[in-house]
C-alpha cells in the first residue's frame, strides 16, 4: 500500500455574500461543502463536474490561495515522516509545503509574464526558494526543458511566450511546476485550451512524468473522457459536494448516483452510429440513493472502494 501524499478531511470553503448589515441576514455560498478524499503517492485523482460546482475552489483551498472555512488538509511532511495538518505548519514549513505542491493552470496564454523569457519564467521558483548556484539553476532549467520535450533547450531559453504555440507554452507551464520536484501537482483543466492533436501529447507527457518522478495529481476537468485517460480514480462533484468516488473504469461502467449517470450520458461520443441517450434524473432515483444509508456524514461504500453520497442534493431535478 502506497503512502498518501495528501488527505482532505471534511473540507468546507464558504463565501460570504451578505449584502451588508442593513439588508439583514447572512448569506453564504457553500462553494465547497464537506468533502473528503486522499491521494496516494504517484496516483492521480480526477475531480469532475460542471462549471461552478466547486472544483477550482477545492484546488485553491488546498494550495492556501483561498482560506478554508473548516476541515483539515494534511500533507505528508518528509522531514517528520508523518502526515501534518497545514494549520500546524510553521513559516518555514509552509515554504516547504509550497515547494511540494504546485499548480498548472488552464490558460497557458495568461499564466506567464509576456515580458519574461522562458528561462526567467522557469527560473523564478528556484530564485524565490533560493535553491542552488546560478550555474546549477541554469542546468536545472535545461534539464527540465528536456524532460518536458522542448528540445534542444538552448532554442527556447531566450524566447518569449508569444513566440511559442499553445502546446509549447503548456509544456513551459509544466516545466515551471516540476522544476521544484513537487510531490503533488494540481492541474486545473490544463488541456482544455489546446487542440485535440496536441492535447494527447500533453496528457501522455503528464502521465509519464507522474510515473518517472512519482508525482501525484489532482486533475480538474469537466470532461470525463479526458479524466478517463488521465486518472486512476475519479470524484464527481456537484454543488460543492462529492457525489460519487471510485476507480475510473468502475465509475464509468457502473455509475450509481443519478448525477454521475447524467454526466456520463452528456458526453458526445466520436461515433456517428452510436445512439447516445441522455439519462434523465427522476425523483425516484434520488430517493433510492438517499435511502441507501442513514449516515449522511460520510460517503457510503457500496463495495469495491466505490463510494456514493446519500445526501439530499438540491437542484438536480
Amino acid at each position: 500500500m502506497k503512502r498518501n501524499v495528501i488527505e482532505i478531511e471534511n473540507l468546507k470553503t464558504y463565501f460570504d455574500v451578505s449584502k451588508g448589515f442593513l439588508r439583514g441576514g447572512k448569506d453564504v455560498v457553500k462553494a465547497v461543502d464537506d468533502i473528503s478524499f486522499e491521494i496516494a503517492q504517484g496516483k492521480s485523482l480526477g475531480l469532475v463536474g460542471q462549471s461552478g460546482c466547486g472544483k477550482t475552489t477545492t484546488a485553491r483551498s488546498i494550495t492556501m490561495l483561498e482560506e478554508k472555512t473548516d476541515g483539515n488538509i494534511k500533507f505528508f511532511d518528509q522531514s517528520q515522516n508523518k502526515m501534518t495538518s497545514i494549520d500546524d505548519l510553521s513559516e518555514d514549513q509552509i515554504k516547504n509545503f509550497r515547494r511540494n505542491v504546485q499548480m498548472i493552470f488552464q490558460d497557458p496564454y495568461e499564466a506567464m509574464n509576456p515580458r519574461w523569457t522562458i528561462k526567467d519564467t522557469i527560473l523564478e521558483p528556484l530564485i524565490i526558494h533560493n535553491i542552488g548556484t546560478d550555474k546549477e539553476q541554469e542546468e536545472a532549467v535545461i534539464e527540465i526543458l528536456k524532460t518536458v520535450g522542448l528540445t534542444p533547450p538552448e532554442n527556447y531559453l531566450s524566447r518569449y511566450p508569444h513566440e511559442l504555440s499553445g502546446g509549447q507554452r503548456q509544456r513551459v507551464a509544466i516545466a515551471r511546476a516540476l522544476i521544484m520536484k513537487p510531490k503533488f501537482v494540481i492541474c486545473d483543466e490544463p488541456t482544455s485550451m489546446l487542440d485535440v492533436s496536441i492535447r494527447i501529447s500533453i496528457m501522455d507527457l503528464m502521465v509519464s512524468l507522474a510515473k518517472d518522478l512519482n508525482v501525484s495529481y489532482l486533475y480538474i476537468t469537466h470532461d470525463l473522457a479526458v479524466a478517463r485517460y488521465m486518472c486512476d480514480r475519479i470524484a464527481v462533484m456537484y454543488n460543492g459536494k462529492i457525489v460519487e468516488l471510485a476507480e475510473t473504469e468502475e465509475l464509468l461502467k457502473n455509475p450509481i448516483h443519478p448525477y454521475t449517470k447524467r454526466l456520463i450520458s452528456s458526453i458526445p461520443v466520436p461515433d456517428p452510429t452510436y445512439e447516445r441517450k441522455v439519462y434523465e434524473i427522476t425523483k425516484q432515483d434520488l430517493e433510492e440513493i438517499e435511502n441507501l444509508s442513514n449516515n449522511k456524514d460520510d460517503l457510503y461504500e457500496i463495495g469495491n472502494k466505490h463510494f456514493v453520497s446519500t445526501h439530499k442534493i438540491k437542484g438536480l431535478l
Binding site: Q50, S51, I200, L252, R262, I267, P270
Partner: protein, 321 residues
C-alpha cells in the same frame, strides 16, 4: 438532391505586412437542403474564415481571390451591400463563437432581439415583435421572463440560447454555428446541441456546424469536411468518414479523441504543428506531420480531391494509398 448552399473553389487571402496568408485554398463543398454539414479541424485551419466569407463578413484585409458561393441561385461573392443584407438574417444567419459574450450589457436581451427584427421587418407592430420574441424564446427553451432581463442576469448557457433565438429571429434557411458550445461545460453543451438539432428538424433548416471537436461533429452532422491548413482534405457523409477514414489527418484526429464508451484505448498524438500559410504553398501541406509518409510520397504533387466511394472525397495522395 437540391443544395441550399454550394461553395466552389473558394480562395481567400489575408493581406498582412509580412505577406499574404492563404487562409482558404480551393475549398468546395455543398450543403443539401434540410441537412447539416460539419467543418472540423484545429485552430487556425480556416474554419471560421470560411464561415465569415459565406456572409461576406470577413475582415477588411481579407480578399476573395476566386471562387463562388452560391446561395439560392445567387453568387454571394458578387452581390452588393443592399442585396447582401437580404441574404444575411433572412437567408443565412450565424451563431458566433463565444457569442454569448457579445450582448450589449446595458440593454435588455429582448430589446436587442427586437432591434434586429425591427431592422428587417420595419412594418411590424410592436405587439407583433413581442409575440415573435416570445415564440423564439419558447423555441430555444428559455422562459419568457428572460426577455426583460439584462445579459449579466443570465447564465452562460441561457445567453447562448438567447443568441440562437436571435439568429432565428428572421426565419433564416441556413444557420452557421461556429463553435457555439466551446465555452460551455458538457451538460450545458449537451442541452444546446439537443436544442439546435430539434430546431433544425422542426423548422426544416439547414446547418453548417463548425467545431474542433470531432465527437460533436459525429453527433450533429450528416456530412462533414475535414480542414487542414486552409484546405478541405477529406469530405463526405459523416458516417462513411468515421467508418472509413482515408486521409492520415482524419485518422489522426479520430485516434487522438478520447471516448467514454468502449474499452479504454491508447490514444495517439500528432506531433508537429500546422505549416505557415504565408507564401507559396505547393503539394501536400500535411506531409511534414504525416505518420504514413513513405518513399512513394511526392510532397510536391499538386493536391486535389478524388472520389473514392459515393460522395466520399479525399486528397489524391491518400486516395491512391
Amino acid at each position: 438532391m437540391k443544395n441550399i448552399l454550394e461553395v466552389k473553389n473558394l480562395n481567400m487571402e489575408y493581406r498582412t505586412l509580412e505577406g499574404n496568408v492563404k487562409a482558404i485554398q480551393d475549398v468546395s463543398f455543398s450543403i443539401p437542403l434540410n441537412s447539416s454539414f460539419g467543418l472540423v479541424g484545429e485552430s487556425g485551419c480556416g474554419k471560421t474564415s470560411v464561415a465569415m466569407s459565406l456572409l461576406q463578413l470577413q475582415a477588411d484585409n481579407a480578399e476573395i481571390i476566386s471562387g463562388n458561393i452560391i446561395y439560392d441561385g445567387k453568387d454571394i461573392v458578387s452581390l452588393n451591400e443592399e442585396e447582401l443584407r437580404k441574404v444575411r438574417w433572412f437567408g443565412i444567419s450565424i451563431v458566433f463563437q463565444g457569442a454569448m459574450n457579445a450582448w450589449n450589457p446595458v440593454i435588455k436581451i429582448g430589446e436587442q432581439i427586437r432591434e434586429a427584427i425591427r431592422e428587417h421587418y420595419p412594418n411590424n407592430t410592436k405587439k407583433d415583435n413581442t409575440d415573435t420574441i416570445q415564440d423564439l424564446f419558447k423555441l430555444v427553451g428559455l422562459d419568457s421572463s428572460n426577455i426583460d432581463r439584462y445579459p449579466h442576469e443570465l447564465s452562460g448557457g441561457m445567453k447562448q440560447r438567447a443568441v440562437i433565438a436571435l439568429a432565428l429571429s428572421c426565419k433564416p434557411k441556413l444557420i452557421i454555428a461556429d463553435e457555439p458550445t466551446t465555452a460551455l461545460d458538457v451538460v450545458i453543451q449537451d442541452q444546446i446541441l439537443k436544442e439546435i438539432r430539434k430546431i433544425q428538424n422542426d423548422l426544416g433548416l439547414s446547418l453548417l456546424y463548425i467545431s474542433h471537436d470531432i465527437a460533436v461533429i459525429a453527433e450533429m452532422t450528416d456530412y462533414m469536411g475535414v480542414m487542414y491548413a486552409g484546405r478541405i482534405v477529406e469530405k463526405g457523409p459523416t458516417k462513411e468518414i468515421f467508418a472509413n477514414p482515408r486521409h492520415s489527418y482524419t485518422k489522426a484526429l479520430l485516434e487522438s479523441t478520447p471516448s467514454i464508451v468502449g474499452d479504454k484505448v491508447k490514444l495517439n498524438s500528432l506531433d508537429g504543428e500546422p505549416p505557415s500559410l504565408m507564401g507559396k504553398i505547393d503539394g501536400c501541406s500535411f506531409a511534414p506531420r504525416c505518420p504514413n509518409r513513405n518513399t512513394t510520397c511526392n510532397p510536391e504533387e499538386k493536391m486535389e480531391l478524388i472520389e473514392v466511394s459515393p460522395e466520399h472525397f479525399v486528397d489524391i495522395c491518400s486516395a491512391n494509398r
